[in-house]
Symmetry: C2
């Protein structure tokens, strides 16, 4: 099954739902037109389909190779990476000041769905470079930026994020990697980092590591951490490559999936590093990057699900087995295609409803990322609020659902899906990591209830509720869109109820908030998708009402109807569960487990 | 993490919930005492822990080997198999007429949970032998039974079930494998079978294949199928092994999991076979076996989940990361164990509530299998009814939940769970197949609503509802057990509502029944577990009321409380979803997907 980039679906969201043409007065959108975006996405989709997708499954089977510190990727990956750099894709939405094309995030995160759908493991090489780029761009000195960012922008140099150590992942306050100032503005970095995605490979001429470490004598805990730039190969003042730095890949992790990505143990032995931003501000610096990385991870999980759905549809249309319960549909064939079976369609529509809702959620959030740069402070503030509030929701909800979709897609294949002959197994295995890395989904839920929700007295969620109320008031008239609007209003009422419960009970006992957090996040995710489905339904219905005969719009409404009828009912269950409180979880002593 | 057989949990279910001591008047229970069962399970648990569990993960990493038709298992597997045969475990609940020990199914399916938990892939070798044994035992001639069953009982000879072909899995009417009668009572079997678990290996001296094939000239479709016994090595009249038969393993399937089990392509080239039962009754014969195999598959999925839960608990107790929200619990350590976090406990308790509820569901169903043999026809009929009705529920619900538990258990591990350093990945990968084979879970749901539910005018479900009503009436008094009884009554009311909906809408349009089937099955599964949790709560509370200070009983109630408060709310969602009907699924034309 050849991967097909969902250009049409994303263009519908950009043009007809988000109406990005409205934003030409905003920073970064000056030169944007829907024709240009269409052209970029068509070319980007073609690149993903023709260059990246073909190496995906062979790369899963072959994996990466480690030999005495040297890492090589699967056959053909280096060539695909080179083609990507030459075509200029990594620069798509990077800052023009350092060689980027300056496209808005909505465009970058549309193209990103294609690369992650074509190959999640491959997309991590430019993905991690973008993460490191963001960290340096946000906080490093002009000198460091000028020296490193241009080649990271093009992808000629890669980049990584080095946080985790064997004794700490979530709790980075326990980081032991040490930085010793040399008195010349450099530091010697020593320690071991693990699970470093794209930590070492032969695709790029250099790799720029961003490394969380503790300056000698700095306090214990998070406040003692600083962020460093540590190149694999030292860069001379003229930009040419110099000596190898004291950093080496000690080995590759054996993992359930994303085999094409080199997940490295990185050993730093007095490696020369440069401070990014100020000493002791390492975590604050990292948070900038992590927010972006979390959006990227949510995108990745969902995009894998989108690709898996395509594989399931292709299989189902092709597979002849049994007969329709209402009489043969393919009487001259040996059997009907399994598309005739309601339960097969249930699985496909559930997958599709999450995929298309998720695609809209991603692009809506990307638009907020763009609007943060607005010259209008009210617009920028609202966008920042929404980004903060919805990033953990997007990351956790879309990766949970991406995995769920991959599992449904495997199920549609029957036994074939469990064999490695199809890509269903790879999608399932690849999708599973997205629920874990960049902060486990449980951590996202805690971030949501403990930090993002109460921030600024709940300003973000009140504003978002206001947007929903306005939409409901405006679009609640009798008609084909009404079920979507009613479903949205109901989900929002439940989320509001849950939010009140959190306020009343979470303050009294923080364990109540934590105990409720995952169900609350799921209720939030359902509501976010209900909002976007209602907007998509409205846009599709408007086209139909205007006489557009493209079946795309009818299909969109049919998919959305599944969301309303068959997914929204989970909202009530999440609300009931979250209100049960902490005691049911905390009563049992640890030793009784 | 060393696997620990859940002897205590299963003995609690057998003795205090099912009270198997009541059944000494029933066929097969004459010589059973709880002391004897305890002794068997302790020894069986020890065997699973010490002999089977250690080869599980190494076997996943190594897999099986094929060389020109010869298949060898991973290192140490042949030796473990031999030890199992020598200890007599395969014979545990087999018919004494052919050398079995004649233990009831409740004992066999308790021990079966240990072997499947210790190694799902390994447990399939005796598991498939038991399946083939059942097919031969139920329908073959006395001569065939006498010749083949004794050595299959001990496990000296293995057995397989050969149904699937490349063009058909679910729709066996399309089977092409051909059987040509030779006029001497034998047939020549020719064709290709795929996905044959334990199809070829070097553990046993011989392998007895049961093969679905079409006698030359027989009608197309299911009615033309017959079942054959085809030994790998022909057996002489004196029982000694003769020539190699015309059956050969053409290759091994590459799969996502259960790597230690050889999943074979089997090529039959004029292999000599003997008819099992009558010509044209192949599917009826297979149904006997499949019912048993479906219980075994449900057991397997749940047992993998049980093992995965153990691994997650061990990891969580060990992993120090972050601090409790209510203040440090391990102030002298670098961090608290992650057991302090409500969301980690949520995952563990969800896993545990499904595991312990599922264990009870399995043993209750095994008891029905035993009571089918009752001399009292009313008892036997009721047991047959319950077996028929609940087998698809048990298979689908417990395998879905086994996979869910394995995924939760991976999540508790964080990034470590995604690496192959822990067993979490193997459990997840191994569990996934149980949702597919022996009839996908979608097929189970169709079997439930289309065949099992309406059978005999709904006699089975009416009787089962009567049992629940009686339990509720008897145990609904105020007290610690009341929430369990109330939860059960509520779930049952919803299931009854759903059943009525199916009767009213499924007859009018069979697509309505099929569209509702999976949600209906889930609602059924929740209700079944609610019934068993209520019984476990009652038994545990009785011990507490009688002054028993064993914390086991308090823990049982706490786990059950999670089920009532945090899992039962899903019942309402399933009911709402199933009532949405077929149109939401069938409206979209196939080409629009």
């Amino acid at each position: 099954m050849a991967y097909k980039a969902p250009v049409r679906d994303l263009m519908f969201i950009l043009n007809e739902v988000l109406e990005i043409d409205r934003y030409t007065n905003q920073n970064g959108f000056e030169d944007i037109s829907s024709d240009l975006v269409q052209q970029i996405l068509e070319e980007g989709g073609k690149f993903a389909e023709e260059v990246i997708a073909p190496i995906n499954n062979p790369g899963d089977k072959e994996g990466c190779h480690w030999n005495d510190g040297v890492v090589t990727g699967p056959k053909g990956w280096k060539e695909a990476y080179k083609a990507m750099v030459e075509a200029g894709w990594p620069a798509l939405s990077a800052d023009p000041a350092y060689g980027g094309q300056g496209m808005p995030a909505v465009v970058g995160m549309a193209f990103g769905q294609f690369t992650a759908g074509a190959s999640a493991a491959f997309s991590m090489y430019p993905g991690l470079t973008a993460g490191a780029h963001a960290g340096i761009h946000a906080n490093a000195s002009e000198e460091l930026k000028a020296k490193y960012l241009p080649k990271m922008t093009t992808g000629e140099w890669g980049g990584t994020m080095n946080l985790t150590e064997p004794q700490c992942g979530t709790d980075l306050g326990m980081v032991r990697t040490k930085a010793v100032p040399q008195g010349d503005g450099t530091y010697k970095i020593t320690g071991q980092k693990i699970w470093i995605s794209a930590g070492e490979h032969d695709f790029a001429d250099n790799i720029i590591h961003t490394v969380l470490a503790r300056v000698e004598g700095a306090p214990a805990g998070i406040k003692g951490l600083s962020l460093f730039l540590v190149p694999k190969i030292l860069v001379n003042d003229d930009g040419s490559l110099g000596e190898r730095n004291g950093v080496r890949c000690g080995g590759l992790e054996h993992k359930m999936g994303i085999h094409g990505n080199a997940t490295c143990v990185m050993d730093y032995d007095e490696a020369t590093g440069w401070l990014i931003g100020e000493e002791g501000r390492g975590m604050n610096n990292m948070f900038v990057v992590m927010n972006e990385a979390r959006l990227g991870t949510g995108l990745q999980g969902l995009a894998i699900g989108a690709a898996a759905y395509q594989g399931a549809v292709a299989f189902a249309k092709d597979r002849l087995q049994g007969r329709a319960l209402t009489g043969p549909q393919n009487p001259n064939g040996p059997a009907d295609s399994i598309m005739v079976h309601p339960d097969v369609r249930r699985m496909l529509l559930e997958a599709r409803a999450f995929v298309e809702g998720g695609q809209a959620f991603i692009l809506w959030t990307a638009l907020q990322a763009d609007l943060q740069e607005s010259a209008d402070e009210a617009t920028a503030q609202k966008a920042r609020d929404y980004m903060g509030l919805l990033t953990p929701v997007l990351k956790a909800y879309l990766t949970d659902k991406g995995f769920h979709v991959a599992s449904l897609s495997m199920q549609v294949h029957g036994g074939s899906g469990y064999t490695e002959e199809f890509t269903a197994s790879q999608y399932l295995r690849d999708a599973r990591i997205t629920m874990i890395y960049e902060g486990t989904n449980g951590i996202q839920a805690l971030d949501l209830v403990g930090r993002k929700l109460p921030s600024q007295g709940g300003r973000a969620i009140m504003s978002w509720f206001g947007d929903i109320d306005a939409f409901v008031a405006e679009n609640g008239a009798e008609g084909p869109v009404k079920p979507f609007v009613d479903g949205l209003a109901d989900a929002k009422a439940k989320l509001q109820d849950g939010t009140m419960w959190l306020m009343q009970n979470g303050l009294a006992n923080p364990d109540n908030a934590a105990a409720a957090s995952t169900d609350y996040l799921n209720l939030f995710g359902i509501t976010a998708l209900a909002f976007l489905w209602a907007q998509m339904a409205k846009a599709a219905q408007a086209k139909i009402d205007a006489g557009d005969a493209d079946p795309f719009y009818v299909t969109k409404l049919q998919t959305g109807r599944y969301f309303v009828e068959r997914i929204l009912p989970d909202a009530a269950a999440h609300l009931t569960k979250m209100k049960t409180g902490a005691d049911v979880l905390m009563a049992m002593p640890a030793e009784a487990f």
